[in-house]
């Protein structure tokens, strides 16, 4: 009996949708099976309270690959990325640090705090630009296996070696530093101002249970910088309609190529026979067969829940046990009756159309981390705040606003667990922190939604609520992600592939894993 489908994609997260679109574009018959009633996984927009649309989980588009935007013609399917113009860092003493897109304006503001930093900033930007370019090829290739003798791997290693050597000594050494140092140490070499260092360091801790002084966080800083890189493609901004519109656009493209996308179709199991994937079983009992199964779920969910240990080699399972998740981020989404009024920059100004970062110093972030190390959430957390309704008024009723707050640290393994009371306590800590800088915010809150790592796991299915489907640390990146020797989207089960953020090149709303997985399948 011929399979009705060439490929099944388990999970309708943005990577799965990207994979489906590329496969369908190549003429394959693809079906995407999503448990929830909407696609997108952690890139969704929901009207949590009537009239107020939230990007419940991920809330900015930062790293969406330009080749995906082009290949799938996402703008035609509704993707519209609006720029975020600035970052405001309010300071406890009533002052602030603002970073603007305009070069002159930005320099003048930096010079207000430190002439040296204002001068160093351009060179810093240039270095990160060059480093981003140096790393960029790695985002688009399948990681070669350094222990393999296969010609394809040897050729890949040789190419990588040539690429890095061709950078020349200055850039090679700079890359070595960025790959191994802590964000704090790296920034100390460039800048003296605490507010600037704190705000920059914050992008080194996103999604990790590490502090800015932890070695390895400079790499995460670079990872987040890469969205700046693509010139006019400038994929760093806010998607009109919230992050859900990114997923909807990709789903639209997939459907336009002929893929079918089913929601409300939860997959219970991958069917395995003789070491081969033959299809899936839904929770409803329905069986669907296909040549190839791609899983957009994280590695633990994929292999331990959907496949089952018994089908997998023992060393694989053991190595998977060492792949760490340790979610550390939470979201607080607010429906507001009025705009927040920041004491350091009163009124309705352009700063409200950008990001507001509560990261007044490196030590502030580090202390927030210290609390989380031992199983507590940060009393005074790092907050990354955007007000989507200022950029896209359709997100809230006229005159009202939505506020999206990304919070760290909120460790998945909280002492005593994430009870309802603890969830609310986290929400309170966030509001208390924000109120220190914008006192009117308490009375402005109409509704509050708090999403803890436990909620992320429960709602979207990501193990331990780690937004990257697994920590972005060197020991589990590249050819080690998620398991050494299995970083090529293939799995020990013939015909089963992984296409989520738990594979190279990792997380963020990038789409790269989905695309690379699809291309790997098409290659055969």
């Amino acid at each position: 009996m011929a399979n009705r489908w060439d490929a099944i994609v388990v999970g309708g997260g943005h990577n799965g949708l990207v994979a489906a679109a590329y496969l369908a574009r190549a003429g394959k018959r693809v079906v995407v099976l999503e448990r929830r009633e909407r696609v997108g996984g952690a890139a969704v927009s929901e009207e949590a309270f009537p009239g107020f649309r939230f990007s419940v989980f991920s809330y900015v588009v930062s790293l969406l690959r330009p080749e995906i935007i082009r290949d799938l013609d996402l703008p035609r399917h509704g993707l519209h990325i609006l720029p975020l113009e600035s970052t405001l860092t309010p300071l406890p003493n009533g002052d602030y640090l603002a970073q603007w897109n305009d070069h002159d304006r930005n320099r003048r503001e930096l010079a207000r705090h430190s002439l040296r930093d204002a001068e160093a900033y351009d060179e810093f930007g240039r270095t990160l630009h060059q480093m981003g370019r140096a790393m960029k090829p790695l985002l688009g290739l399948v990681p070669p296996d350094p222990a393999s003798w296969r010609p394809r791997d040897l050729a890949g290693l040789a190419r990588l070696g040539r690429h890095f050597r061709a950078l020349g000594p200055a850039q090679f050494h700079a890359l070595h530093k960025l790959a191994t140092m802590s964000a704090a140490d790296y920034l100390d070499e460039w800048f003296e101002g605490e507010a600037l260092k704190g705000t920059k360091a914050a992008s080194g801790i996103i999604g990790t249970l590490h502090g800015p002084r932890s070695p390895g966080t400079a790499y995460v800083l670079l990872h987040h910088y890469m969205g700046e890189l693509d010139g006019v493609f400038r994929a760093w901004g806010f998607a009109k309609g919230g992050n859900g519109s990114v997923s909807e656009a990709i789903a639209g493209a997939a459907r336009a190529f002929g893929a079918e996308v089913r929601t409300g179709a939860a997959v219970a199991q991958v069917l395995v026979a003789n070491g081969r994937a033959t299809g899936v079983t839904l929770e409803s009992g329905e069986e669907i067969r296909a040549e190839v199964v791609l899983s957009n779920a994280d590695p633990r969910r994929t292999f331990l829940d959907l496949v089952g240990e018994r089908h997998l080699p023992a060393e694989f399972v053991e190595a998977l046990g060492r792949f760490r998740f340790r979610g550390a981020s939470a979201k607080v989404n607010l429906a507001l009756d009025e705009l927040p009024n920041f004491a350091c920059m009163p009124g309705r100004g352009p700063h409200l159309r950008g990001a507001i970062s509560i990261s007044p110093s490196v030590d502030y972030l580090e202390r927030a981390f210290d609390e989380a190390k031992y199983g507590e959430f940060s009393r005074r957390p790092y907050l990354d705040i955007v007000i989507p309704s200022m950029i896209d008024p359709d997100m809230a009723p006229p005159g009202k606003h939505v506020m999206s707050i990304f919070v760290q640290y909120a460790p998945y393994h909280l002492a005593g667990g994430w009870t309802d009371a603890r969830r609310e306590a986290l929400g309170d800590a966030v509001v208390d922190t924000l109120a220190e800088y914008a006192p009117n915010v308490r009375r402005a809150i109409l509704h509050r939604q708090v999403v803890t790592p436990a909620d992320i796991e429960r709602l979207v299915g990501i193990s331990e609520g780690n937004i990257f489907h697994g920590e972005l640390t060197l020991q589990q990146l590249f050819f080690l992600r998620p398991v050494p020797a299995w970083a090529r989207y293939r799995t020990p089960i013939e015909g089963l592939y992984q296409c989520g953020s738990g594979t190279h090149p990792g997380g963020g709303v990038m789409g790269a894993p989905g695309r690379l997985a699809a291309l790997e399948i098409l290659r055969r």
């Binding site: 002159d104 304006r105 003048r108 002439l115 040296r116 204002a118 001068e119 351009d122 060179e123 240039r126």
Partner: protein, 395 residues
């Protein structure tokens, strides 16, 4: 958001064109009148008054001030005397230009350095082990350029002093209707001219005094467009247009050494140490790969290109700053980075980078010209700079 110079109230009142542009985060006038032409002619025929306050300026003071500057720049500073002014580039450790500017010695231990870009961090990082204080005085020193054949008589009238003794590239202290200021016989136009360095609080008084003293002599406020034409005639390179500073270059090929900018005369290799010295010493042993020279477009061949489509030739009166290819023997041998029609010299001139022997004066090359949307080539000749060098500049 953007800043105004101390002269802004006067400039704004006179800026009929509303043609503003940005310079180092300041707003300055591209031209005052609807066209820049009269302002340019004033530079060459009478005198022009140009607000150059956005220059970065540093006060370097202390026992080791001259040692610091000698570590940084390629020219010899130590032997300068109070009242001397030097023009000099400075480089990174690979011998590639970071910036260029002037150094004026105010006294034994005090210097003023001007630059196009911020340099505080660079100066500070070079000062290890030296007894020297570096102060960024960019915002606390206002600056005006007074350039043109009548510049001296105007200044003498305004200061009620004889300035005949103020030689080329020298500086003196004067009082202008009660406002103290420093006057250096320097400028960016390649003409007789002075630059005035003064307190921001005195800016408007000095401006008014100069306008009053200078109007009978044809003094005209001039904007950046006029200045651009004059500086190309003078053969003077402009940062970010004619060269990319090494600390902004994304690839090595974008950088330039002083040798590649016709600044070999400014490199004193026998100084025991300055940043980039070793690299430059090595480079000096080879002929330069690139040379920076003047280009004069051959009028008849240029005219023919337009005539072929039934048009009169169109020359740019506003200087262009794009990159225009230069060819010889069928291949591209260089590129011009600044070009303009010189109303004074009645020639179409450009500043260009040329490979090897093609940078020698007299070399015949071709310059790309777009005529009615088609790319054509006109003949051009490589010439030495400056294009315009009047005796009055140094007299």
């Amino acid at each position: 958001m953007l800043r105004f110079t101390p002269f802004h109230p006067r400039v704004a009142a006179l800026c009929q064109s509303h043609a503003w542009r940005r310079w180092a985060g300041y707003v300055v006038a591209s031209s005052y009148e609807l066209s820049h032409e009269r302002e340019y002619h004033a530079i060459r025929a009478a005198a022009a008054l140009i607000d150059v306050s956005p220059l970065y300026k540093y006060r370097v003071h202390g026992r080791d001030a001259d040692r610091l500057l000698d570590r940084v720049v390629t020219r010899e500073v130590r032997r300068s005397a109070p009242g001397d002014v030097l023009y000099t580039p400075w480089c990174d450790a690979a011998g590639k230009l970071l910036d260029d500017g002037t150094i004026a010695r105010l006294d034994e231990r005090t210097f003023r350095l001007t630059a196009a870009e911020p340099n505080l961090r660079w100066l500070q990082d070079n000062a290890l082990g030296l007894e020297v204080a570096i102060e960024d005085v960019s915002d606390s020193v206002a600056a005006l350029a007074l350039q043109g054949p009548n510049a001296r008589v105007i200044l003498e009238a305004a200061c009620e002093t004889d300035l005949g003794g103020l030689r080329y590239f020298k500086q003196a202290a004067v009082r202008l209707r009660g406002s103290p200021l420093l006057v250096s016989r320097t400028g960016y136009t390649g003409d007789l001219g002075y630059e005035l360095w003064l307190e921001p609080g005195d800016a408007l008084a000095v401006w008014d005094a100069l306008i009053e003293a200078g109007t009978p002599f044809g003094l005209t406020p001039a904007g950046m467009l006029a200045l651009d034409v004059a500086r190309i005639e003078a053969g003077l390179p402009l940062i970010d247009v004619d060269y990319v500073p090494a600390n902004r270059a994304l690839i090595a090929g974008q950088t330039s050494s002083p040798y590649e900018l016709d600044l070999a005369w400014a490199v004193k290799l026998d100084k025991p140490f300055f940043v980039g010295r070793d690299a430059l010493a090595r480079e000096a042993q080879r002929p330069p790969e690139w040379r920076f020279a003047g280009i004069e477009v051959d009028w008849p061949s240029f005219e023919r290109l337009f005539a072929a489509v039934g048009l009169a030739p169109r020359v740019p009166s506003v200087a262009w700053r794009t990159s225009v290819p230069l060819y010889a023997e069928g291949a591209q041998v260089g590129y011009a980075t600044s070009g303009v029609w010189s109303p004074l010299l009645k020639r179409y001139i450009a500043l260009a980078h040329l490979r090897g022997r093609w940078g020698s004066p007299g070399a015949a090359v071709e310059i790309e010209v777009t005529v009615e949307h088609q790319r054509k080539r006109a003949g051009a000749t490589v010439v030495t700079k400056p294009f315009f060098d009047p005796a009055r500049k140094r007299a």
